[in-house]
């Protein structure tokens, strides 16, 4: 997995390439938490290049969303494939996140 990190205004946008799983989830978590320490409160995770996500990866997303919301911010998810969307629907985590079709849609009004 590799992460592409950029700021779009005051929104941190992270593209996840490859699978987000138990062996690499900490990299995503630490990358976001470091920026949160620096004042970032809005985060978009772009899954256009993400192969699959396991329960550990889902857990990191839940954890980060919780932290950001405690601080008055939020985490949005963008560009999930149909298979990834099914994963969120199976686990009902689609109810916990704002999921948008694209990174651009996630940034609208954020």
């Amino acid at each position: 997995m590799s992460l592409q990190v950029e700021m779009q205004g005051d929104v941190l946008v992270i593209a996840v390439d490859g699978p987000l799983i138990v062996g690499n989830r900490q990299e995503l978590k630490q990358t976001v938490l470091d920026r949160v320490e620096g004042g970032v409160r809005k985060v978009v995770v772009d899954f256009a290049g993400t192969a699959y996500i396991d329960s550990s990866g889902l857990g990191v997303l839940v954890s980060l969303a919780k932290r950001l919301r405690e601080l008055g911010g939020d985490l949005r998810l963008a560009a999930l494939s149909d298979d990834l969307l099914t994963l969120f629907e199976l686990t009902k985590l689609d109810a916990l996140f704002q999921i948008t079709a694209s990174r651009e849609r996630a940034l609208e009004g954020f």
Partner: protein, 139 residues
């Protein structure tokens, strides 16, 4: 190049090894024309859960302990056995529902749920070692 239908590996309990093992199994399923969803969702996610569970829970994240993965794929189904050196857990006793409203915000507890949701059958044999057997029929 056609890969042998069966795969048997012994690896230390290092979660960094999981992605490569999953890739090997997915390639074999692709050769037998499993569906796109099975290749992109069912197999990789359920297998990642089974192997990480074996490494982290079964073997207690001890790299000196090994996990054995044996996968057999044919035109009808995939059967994967994941064996660790622990005494196992009671699959039937794990009935927590991570999709319940009060559990939704939990960070953990979805692994077994996903294995069951994405495979046709999940069985566990407990003894001196533990074997979790996953079965998925080609659609």
């Amino acid at each position: 190049m056609t890969l042998p239908a069966a795969l048997e590996l012994r690896v230390p309990s290092d979660v960094g090894r999981i992605e490569g093992i999953v890739s090997e199994v997915v390639q074999r399923c692709r050769q037998h024309a499993f569906t796109g969803r099975q290749l992109a969702l069912n197999v990789p996610v359920a297998l990642t859960e089974a192997i990480s569970n074996a490494m982290l829970r079964g073997n207690g994240d001890d790299r000196a302990k090994e996990v054995r993965v044996r996968a057999v794929v044919d035109a009808t189904r995939l059967v994967v056995e994941v064996e660790d050196e622990g005494t196992g857990f009671d699959l039937d006793g794990c009935t927590g529902d991570p999709t319940a409203p009060d559990a939704l915000a939990r960070e953990d507890g979805r692994g077994l749920f996903l294995m069951r949701a994405l495979m046709d059958e999940v069985r566990c044999e407990r003894g001196v070692r533990t074997i979790v057997r996953l079965t998925l029929h080609r659609r």
